[in-house]
């Protein structure tokens, strides 16, 4: 059965789109990421104009993240207090990042700098997590108590500390705001929701236990996605409500299943799975950048 998308002005198969939503929602529930890195290219492969694919995807991320957050909060895995502090930093960072994008664009070669930075960052995060989780798996009796790194130790020595009961850790409020800010800037510059950056930051820099990181990351992504959806609707007019509704029906259900599946895995297993996805995305991006395109001129968007 096909359905007509009023903004994209094309018909799409209902079950394929809802299925795609389900697949990406599964990742969202398991890892607390939005999944835009995967969904946008898949929608474009179905012929949906890039501008509509990006904007409608952020709208469905709102639903998937709400669903994921609620599923995780039932298991007391969402640190709402810490999440709110990071959200404040993230929203300010997002606005600063938008200005930074404008400046970088005016300097030229923005795409080159951006994509190189993205690939390098994915490689570093993915390979570090993979190696670290592999060694953790080898140790018997591994528990999900958060990673102790030099940065997480430093954060605990900074002023205005607060004990976060849900995560069971102590962290400095200005440091959390700064980390939220950094995540927001990176998310805006790289054009991603921030879940990919947020999860490693929470685990390795803040020292949060993995399960709390996943739940809290999903909570933070709700606000980033709301912000982007309204901005896309107001400025670009490219959110296709029908497409978003189909996607979010699948993704909300997928997020519920993902959160339950994630709960059955060991923390290190979950980190390994996440790092493999990060490395696969990195490999796909590198291939896209290095291999000659099928066509040198492609559609940007119908105005």
């Amino acid at each position: 059965m096909d359905i007509f998308l009023p903004i994209a002005r094309m018909s799409v198969p209902v079950f394929t789109i809802a299925g795609l939503g389900g697949l990406v929602g599964l990742l969202s529930g398991m890892f607390g990421v939005g999944g835009g890195f995967l969904m946008t290219p898949l929608l474009m492969m179905l012929g949906i104009p890039p501008a509509v694919a990006v904007a409608s995807d952020t709208n469905q991320i709102v639903a998937a993240s709400v669903s994921g957050t609620l599923a995780h909060s039932k298991k007391k895995n969402v640190d709402f207090q810490m999440g709110f502090i990071i959200v404040i930093g993230g929203l300010v960072g997002g606005s600063l990042g938008t200005v930074l994008v404008k400046i970088l664009r005016s300097l030229g070669n923005f795409d080159l700098v951006l994509k190189t930075a993205y690939v390098v960052m994915l490689f570093l995060v993915g390979s570090f997590m993979f190696m670290e989780s592999l060694s953790a798996l080898k140790k018997k009796g591994e528990s999900d108590k958060g990673e102790k790194t030099a940065v997480s130790g430093l954060l605990k020595r900074l002023p205005m500390k607060k004990y976060f009961e849900v995560s069971g850790i102590e962290a400095s409020i200005p440091a959390l705001l700064a980390l939220g800010l950094l995540t927001g800037v990176l998310a805006a510059v790289m054009g991603v929701g921030g879940g990919f950056i947020m999860l490693p930051v929470m685990i390795y820099l803040i020292g949060m236990p993995l399960r709390n990181s996943v739940g809290t990351s999903a909570f933070v992504v709700i606000f980033t996605a709301i912000n982007v959806t309204i901005a896309q609707s107001a400025i670009n007019h490219t959110v296709d409500l029908v497409l978003a509704m189909l996607l979010l029906l699948g993704s909300s259900a997928g997020a519920q299943i993902g959160a339950r599946l994630g709960g059955r895995l060991k923390a290190a297993q979950l980190r390994i799975a996440f790092s493999i996805i990060v490395l696969l995305v990195m490999a796909k991006m590198t291939m896209d950048l290095l291999s000659p395109p099928a066509s040198l001129i492609i559609q940007g968007g119908v105005l």
Binding site: R9, M10, S67, D111, L112, I226, I230, S233, H237, I298
Partner: protein, 265 residues
């Protein structure tokens, strides 16, 4: 007598208008295409009468009001990146050419004049291409112009909006044909122009129209997205929040039923 003097010209004017809208001797069905949420394209049928022995060529086009943005990829260092943005404008979104005989039977000058060709050469003369440079949007140079228009035609062909086919049937002086219109057809009035050509001479031309419009929900969503962007965005967010909560409640309910069932066993 005075009444007859008034009524006759009025009837004549009405008759002329009717034939102009429908096309003299040209029947188009459906005359109105309504695009609803369950829409996957339409079949447009047309038929009519033309001078016997003539080859029939049909051109189906929408108004020349499309603006399409294109990106050119180039190699920067090792990477293939978007290096230039352009806009192709002044072209129709829909352009189908159908014929009852091979296109090469039409003389070159007529092809050019009537816009009948396999390669849509007509588009190269009508299109406007501007390129985004540091100084702003500027007209494309000759080489760039050709590349962008060629890419635009290729994309439109792939989307089923531009097509050429020899699928018209002629029986004596009657002709008929059908064409599959894709879901992405422009929502406006498009025209069907029929040319009867014999021995390289244009014998007759007929023109008719069909209207394409969205149903009430489609029109409302379009209007909201374009003219009330922030409210539309807010509405999208609220719906997403509601769906997220509702699906969670549904899963919790199913889980408790499932769990209850297990406990009862």
């Amino acid at each position: 007598m005075k009444a007859k003097l008034i009524i006759l010209p009025v009837l004549l004017i009405l008759l002329l208008h009717t034939t102009a809208a429908a096309g003299a001797g040209l029947d188009i069905t459906p005359g109105n295409i309504n695009i609803g949420l369950i829409y996957s394209g339409s079949e447009l049928k047309f038929s009519g009468t033309a001078p016997g022995g003539a080859d029939i060529y049909v051109k189906i086009t929408s108004p020349e009001d499309l603006v399409m943005e294109l990106n050119r990829k180039g190699k920067v260092g090792l990477f293939w990146l978007n290096t230039e943005r352009s806009k192709v404008s002044g072209v129709p979104k829909l352009y189908h050419v159908l014929s009852s005989a091979p296109m090469d039977r039409v003389p070159g000058h007529l092809k050019k004049e009537l816009g009948l060709s396999e390669g849509f050469e007509d588009i190269y003369t009508r299109a406007r291409v501007s390129v985004n440079r540091k100084e702003g949007w500027e007209p494309a140079a000759a080489g760039e112009f050709h590349d962008y228009v060629e890419a635009f035609i290729g994309i439109s062909r792939k989307n089923g909006l531009y097509a050429v086919g020899e699928n018209l049937s002629v029986n004596g002086s009657e002709f008929r044909g059908r064409v599959k219109l894709p879901p992405g057809i422009p929502q406006e009035r498009s025209s069907v122009t029929v040319y009867a050509i014999k021995d390289g001479i244009l014998l007759d031309t007929m023109q008719g129209y069909f209207d394409v419009s969205g149903t009430a929900p489609v029109r409302w969503l379009n209007r909201m997205a374009v003219y009330d962007g922030p409210i539309y965005g807010l509405m999208a967010v609220v719906l997403a929040l509601v769906f997220g909560v509702a699906i969670t409640a549904l899963f919790n309910c199913l889980e408790s039923l499932w769990g209850g069932g297990k406990r009862n066993q």
